[in-house]
């Protein structure tokens, strides 16, 4: 993982750890598998997926990623967007 600069197009992994046993995930279901644009890096934080189970947790960069609302729900207005905090291990270059 090498970091994403503002403006980079990124795809959110279409992964569902919830299907593999007890899990704690901060990536909402509706953006998984979707492509968005990195707005900025928000710093780095310990991985909540491990903190939730009091396991040792790596520090991971956190990004603000923007998504077109209408690409997710077509009834939303074109041009409107979502802005969501997503940890780097959920993102890949699109």
């Amino acid at each position: 993982m090498s970091g994403f600069a503002p403006g980079t197009r990124v795809r959110v992994r279409d992964a569902w750890p919830e299907l593999e046993g007890p899990a704690h995930v901060r990536t909402p279901h509706y953006v998984r598998g979707r492509t968005g644009t990195v707005l900025r890096r928000l710093g780095a934080f310990r991985n909540p997926e491990d903190l939730a189970f009091a396991r040792p947790a790596a520090t991971i960069p956190l990004y603000h990623v923007a998504f077109e609302q209408a690409e997710i729900w077509p009834e939303n207005a074109p041009g409107d967007e979502f802005l969501i905090e997503i940890y780097e291990h959920w993102l890949e270059a699109a």
């Binding site: 934080f45 956190l62 923007a66 409107d80 979502f82 802005l83 905090e85 940890y87």
Partner: protein, 195 residues
């Protein structure tokens, strides 16, 4: 033990008594944390917003690093998650939601209101945000303005910096602060023009 089948008042009393009895925590710590939460309120948010309206350099610092800018005003957020502020402009209107739970800038604004925690708000704020704020709060966002819904999912907490209403030119900071409501700071309402 199925906790949800128990009477929750009894469960709380038993659990709380046990923690105190075992020395895990004490009454004094509990009342101190309650008092700290009581000091936070939407009025504090209004104070921050009013300063940003009258002082452009402060506004820039607030948007860049809200936690330190708020601490400049003597409001200490020690031990709280970092706070971010998003600015409403002529081009963009921000609405904050937490679809996964109810993350809220409580260290500044106090306990989150019931509506913010409701399933109706959490689901609809991302699907039909314009309809939600129009039908529930009478807030009409002009079609030419972009609606940006911020889903507060991780380590930050977020607050909106509303647009200063027209008709308030020359007002004191204190008077401006008094205009700002909890709902303006989450973006479900906009401050009305002052006539």
């Amino acid at each position: 033990m199925n906790l949800a089948e128990l009477d929750s008042d009894r469960l709380l009393a038993a659990f709380r008594g046990l923690l105190i009895g075992k020395g895990v925590l004490n009454e004094e710590e509990l009342s101190r944390s309650g008092a700290a939460m009581d000091a936070a309120s939407p009025a504090r948010g209004g104070q921050v917003v009013a300063r940003a309206w009258v002082d452009a350099a402060y506004r820039a610092r607030l948007l860049d690093n809200a936690t330190s800018a708020i601490e400049e005003l003597g409001i200490y957020l020690t031990g709280s998650p970092p706070l971010g502020v998003l600015e409403n402009t002529e081009a963009v209107h921000n609405i904050i939601v937490c679809t996964l739970c109810s993350c809220y800038p409580r260290m500044l604004l106090g306990y989150p209101p019931l509506w913010y925690k409701s399933a109706g708000y959490r689901s609809r704020a991302v699907r039909d945000p314009r309809g939600l704020v129009r039908e529930e709060w009478g807030t009409v966002i002009p079609p030419e303005k972009k609606v940006r819904v911020l889903d507060s999912t991780a380590d930050y907490r977020w607050m909106v910096l509303p647009q200063r209403p027209r008709g308030t030119e020359g007002w004191s900071e204190e008077r401006l602060a008094g205009l700002v409501r909890e709902t303006d700071l989450i973006g479900v309402t906009v401050l009305p023009e002052v006539l």
